[in-house]
């Protein structure tokens, strides 16, 4: 029998999770935008719009300490961060395009080096996904093989229903446990009518064909055509649920400091700047090419997956109006 | 007088004590000239003495407060403040100057007069109004009976231009504003040496001997330079040169017979103001013969 949860109980769920010592992260309105943020109370949950940043930061924060050091009279003392100490977390309200990105990222973070910072967070996090009832002209999840109802990456999936509240589908043990341990907040129903979901409009992409073209066209005038105007900022990569490049830096003074891992972006001119002064990607089109190649070819070559979930954030927020969907459509044309 | 707003130019007006007493003709002729030139003039209600030359020698705060209060009264009447008497002009300007640069004094004065001092109110001498605000060109245009052939010694006295930072009227040691006005109305200013010398001022009361010497030099210098008459802008100068002229003649044995006009009397004559409204009859040294000779009466 499918379960449902009312709007109000969803918030009570958050409150009781927090009370139990679980960290709850969900969309929260902050100023003019919505972000996936730690919630202090269930009321803070705001599911009205797609958060500006993706949910990847739940597993892969903007910036995190990976060790710290102090120089004392006896020499340098290094303190490691213990990833096992990360708190139990529930990510609530993750949209399909955000939830689906997490399993894609598992591949790269557990490939040869196991990034425990990422993986521990993944292990300790239960993802409650949420189906989309609206889409705008930047959304293109269905063009890359997902859909507004796709529950990939979610442990528990919510679909809004006409009567208010949500239909809950437990997809993993984590999801089931969450329901059973808060059973009083869920109801059993047979007659809930899901709201109609909004499939993004536009051309379906043939990812295979696109990859085929990319395999052949490392050198192509199209890159200059598309990306000459690229300003070289990192907003596309930083808003993207799947981009996962990071840099590591030591910050502090001679006496004490931290080693920190933080987001990096292949659009930055300094991204491939060598100490010698040589930069193999010396112009913006080469950097943009890498972005496309990485998402639709290299990742596929290596892991058989596409590094794009069609959330459309990079389209919406590119300051110079570069539209990855349009680029892919162009490539698909050949 | 007609309401101020009828005129393009209009002023508040501080006549000062002399102009209501010994220098009535200066007041009368000022009003006559302004009326003829269609310049509005509204007397400041309840004005009182500026303190003149004595006050600041005795008590600076008092002298400043007197002018400050007058300025404050003037502040209630629209238009820049027109002043005829050189001493009043000097005192009012000095007060503004002093209080602008000295906050402590300003606060003392404000306490004394129980209100703010309108330091921004512009105080203007008639000369400035005629030569600058009204304009020499327009003045020339308003002339009906040019003072052709009348050789005039323009006498500034001490106060009108000095100290330079206070009146800001003209070059303090070599002014030309009076000459310019006279040229505009057709008169002939003479070049002479004693334009800015002191006439003796209020020693006229305490040590008349000083006047006999100083004013004599002025009269002699004007006469030597070929002047027919002297033109002044100060009641006290006028008194010393006109009223005491006979006494000076007796003392020195030199006869001058030199009429001493106020600037407004001469400008008024030229601009067609009736001689009856210029107070010419109050002059001790009668100008009648001279004016008739020059066909100005």
């Amino acid at each position: 029998m499918p379960k449902t949860i009312t709007e109000q109980n969803l918030r009570l769920l958050i409150d009781s999770l927090i009370k139990e010592g679980t960290r709850v992260i969900g969309p929260r309105r902050t100023g003019t935008i919505t972000l996936y943020e730690p919630l202090a109370r269930g009321e803070e949950l705001d599911l009205n719009e797609l958060p500006r940043r993706s949910a990847k930061e739940v597993f892969f924060p903007v910036c995190e300490n990976i060790l710290s050091f102090q120089r004392g009279e006896e020499g340098v003392k290094v303190t490691d961060i213990d990833p096992c100490a990360f708190p139990e977390t529930v990510l609530i309200g993750a949209r399909p395009c955000d939830a689906a990105a997490a399993p894609v990222l598992d591949s790269v973070f557990s490939w040869d080096y196991k990034d425990e910072f990422f993986l521990q967070r993944r292990r300790k996090t239960t993802v409650i996904g949420l189906a989309c009832t609206t889409a705008d002209d930047a959304c293109f999840c269905s063009a890359v093989g997902l859909s507004p109802a796709d529950s990939k990456g979610a442990d528990l999936f919510l679909t809004p229903v006409r009567e208010g509240g949500y239909l809950c589908e437990a997809l993993t043990d984590k999801g089931k446990t969450l329901i059973t341990s808060h059973a009083r907040l869920f109801a059993e129903t047979s007659a809930a009518a899901p709201l109609s979901l909004n499939e993004p409009a536009g051309v379906k992409l043939d990812l295979h064909k696109i990859k085929g073209w990319l395999d052949e066209n490392f050198e192509s005038p199209i890159w200059k055509e598309i990306a000459d105007r690229c300003a070289g900022c990192g907003s596309c990569a930083f808003l993207c649920p799947a981009c996962h490049c990071f840099d590591i830096v030591d910050e502090g003074t001679e006496a004490e400091g931290h080693r920190r891992k933080f987001w990096d972006a292949c659009g930055f001119g300094k991204f491939t700047d060598h100490a010698s002064g040589h930069n193999p990607r010396d112009a913006q089109p080469k950097r943009y090419r890498n972005r496309i190649m990485h998402k639709f070819k290299y990742y596929d070559d290596k892991f058989g997956q596409t590094l794009c979930t069609g959330c459309g954030r990079c389209i919406r927020w590119c300051p110079v109006g570069i539209d990855i969907k349009a680029v892919l459509e162009e490539i698909q044309k050949g | 007088m007609s309401p101020n707003r009828k005129f393009a130019l209009s002023y508040s007006y501080y006549p000062g004590c002399s102009l209501h007493a010994s220098a009535k003709e200066y007041d009368v002729s000022t009003k006559g000239v302004f009326n003829a030139l269609r310049i509005g003039l509204k007397e400041v209600p309840d004005w009182f003495c500026c303190g003149a030359t004595p006050a600041h020698n005795v008590d600076e705060l008092l002298s400043l407060a007197l002018c400050a209060k007058n300025l404050s009264l003037a502040g209630k009447v629209e238009g820049d403040l027109a002043v005829a008497c050189a001493a009043c002009f000097s005192r009012l300007k000095t007060t503004q100057h002093r209080l602008k640069e000295n906050d402590i004094k300003r606060k003392q004065v404000e306490t004394a007069i129980d209100g703010p001092v309108p330091l921004g109110k512009k105080v203007k001498h008639l000369l400035e109004i005629l030569a600058k605000d009204f304009g020499l060109d327009k003045l020339e245009g308003a002339v009906q009976k040019p003072l052709t052939g009348l050789k005039i010694a323009c006498y500034y006295g001490c106060l009108l231009t000095r100290p330079p930072e206070v009146p800001e009227l003209d070059d303090c040691e070599a002014p030309t504003i009076m000459e310019n006005v006279i040229k505009a109305v057709g008169g002939e200013p003479v070049a002479w040496s004693h334009r800015l010398e002191c006439c003796g001022a209020n020693f006229t009361l305490s040590r008349p001997g000083v006047i006999l010497k100083l004013s004599n030099e002025i009269l002699a210098s004007a006469k030597d330079a070929g002047a027919d008459c002297i033109m002044v802008a100060c009641p006290l100068c006028h008194g010393n040169l006109d009223i005491r002229q006979e006494e000076i003649e007796q003392a020195t044995g030199r006869r001058y017979g030199m009429p001493v006009f106020y600037i407004t009397q001469l400008v008024g004559l030229a601009c067609g103001v009736s001689p009856l409204r210029l107070g010419l009859e109050s002059m001790i040294v009668s100008p009648a013969a001279l004016l008739r000779e020059k066909n100005l009466l």
Binding site: G21, R23, I25, P38, E57, P87 | -
Partner: protein
């Protein structure tokens, strides 16, 4: 006399005037609070606003910038440029919410040992009463959880984590 709070004051001074003025205070055996740490520059013209920011970030409770009186600059115009730069910078700091009472500028000549003492003493005493500059220190240690600052509310919700 001991105080509850001893602020850390950083002074950026030019070598020709203020540093020499502070030397004079020394040779004259004048006394002033020991809170100030003096960093020497050739000229106030060399002092970058970033240094002031850095000093605050690294724990200064107050910053003093001092150089030659206008017209006395050893390099003719360095202090004139500095004057404009700091006039602008303090407006910026004020706008982001830094209390300008913590940032002092002065002209202290090589002959003004007394003025140096006065400036340093006044600033030290003022900052003593103001207490530590918490804002920058908080920032330095603050980690944000996914963009959300660790507010009291959040702390309370998760005090057991």
């Amino acid at each position: 006399m001991k105080h509850d709070f001893e602020p850390k004051i950083v002074a950026f001074v030019c070598t020709w005037c203020t540093y020499a003025g502070a030397d004079l205070a020394g040779t004259s055996r004048m006394q002033y609070p020991a809170n100030v740490r003096v960093l020497k520059f050739p000229c106030t013209g060399r002092i970058d606003p970033v240094f002031i920011l850095k000093a605050f970030q690294k724990g200064a409770d107050g910053v003093l910038v001092s150089g030659c009186h206008p017209g006395d600059c050893h390099y003719m115009a360095g202090n004139f440029h500095a004057r404009r730069r700091f006039a602008a910078f303090r407006k910026l700091l004020e706008f982001v919410g830094v209390d300008l009472a913590r940032l002092e500028f002065s002209w202290v000549s090589a002959a003004e040992g007394g003025k140096w003492v006065e400036v340093v003493t006044d600033l030290t005493e003022r900052i003593r009463t103001m207490g530590p500059l918490a804002e920058f220190k908080e920032l330095e240690t603050e980690e944000h959880w996914s963009g959300r600052l660790e507010t009291a509310e959040l702390k309370e919700a998760y005090n057991n984590i």
